[in-house]
Amino acid sequence: MNPTIWVPQATLGPLAPHYWSEVIAGIVLLLIIWLIVAKAIVPAFEKMYEERSSKIEGGIQRAAVAEAKAEAALAQYQDQLASAREEAARIREDAKNQSAQILAEARDRATKESDRILEAGRQQLAAERSQLVHELRGEVGGMATELASRIVGEALTDDERAMRTVDRFLAELEQAGAAR
């Protein structure tokens, strides 16, 4: 039960291999495992890791693209918002200007209209007045003539003379009124 080997076991004790086959078996088995692990196991794992990392990277890229898109949309939206605000401001400004113009025009028109109405009223008044004066002149002349004829007792039938007298009288009156 004490196998013969290359080195006397007495000198090395348990540090001497019992059989050379132990060393060879250790080497051969390890080489076999190494070969299989190198050819099949590690490539399978590494391929899966690569796929995983590429998938994650792809996900990150997709997220980045989405983010960029969102940012672009936001920028566009803000652009639109700004332009809309600008437009609104412009419209408001326009409206203000327009309203001022309209107001001015209306005021203008109203002034003109009022002037016109005033003018017309004045003219009508003047016409009425002159008509009234004319009528009054006739009436007052008649009345005064009659009154005078009654007072004087003389019939002033001669119309033409009477009218002249009256006219003269009235002209004197008017002159007196104008002088006053």
Binding site: P17, Y19, V23, V37, V42, A44, F45
Partner: protein, 264 residues
Amino acid sequence: MTIGLVPLEGGGYTPPGTHDFEWGSVWPGVLPDWVNKPLLQAVIGALLVILFWYLGSRKLKVQPGRAQFFFEYVYEFVRNGIARDILHSEYRRFLPYLLALFSFLLVNNWFGEFFFFMYPTFSNVGYAYGLALVSWCVYVGAGFHKWGPGFLKKALIPEGVPGYLLPLVVPLEFLATFITRPITLALRLFANLFAGHLVVLVFVVGGGFLLTYADNLFYNVAGGVSFLFSIIILMLELFIGALQAYIFTVLTAQYVSTSIAEAH
């Protein structure tokens, strides 16, 4: 009255020793002597490792299931925890060897604590020599592959050593790099497992002897305690087996790293 160790020294008890690590043929008369239990264990261990990784690398998915998560954990322990940590950008080339080495070592070391085997393969020093020899070839080969013959100069002449010290330094460096490294690799592994198994044997065999000793209650109780303690030692051996597998792999990676490093 001499109670003490007398019964152990008397007849019927043979203390565990190196003879417990010598195995005959598993099938005496048919198979030669060297086809023994450690050899069968080494072969079964190798098959288990291959089976383990075959199962683990089948149908790998980008989103791992529970089983794949476990295999990835073991794989990444070697890949990230040992290979990439030590070899950095060049880890990929040496990863297969480190993975094979670590799993082969771990399975065979744990054979020491598992029923049916109950014997760590690497407590037979020959297997440890074999593995150390392969590791030696790997790190020396990596150096020559990267630097060509200049590897010898890089390995033997450290930078900044004055010329008059070279006659002293070169032989020392040669011894350290090419001789003691593989020997210490092998002996560290072997000695830890050998000693651990021997301790377990002492507690189990001695405990068994005491437990069945006739007409002495104290011996029987002590034997029971010894049995219980052997369980604790077995737990410790589980840890040591994993630790030695880890150390062997880490040191191999470290040697490869110094071989291919730009500057020493």
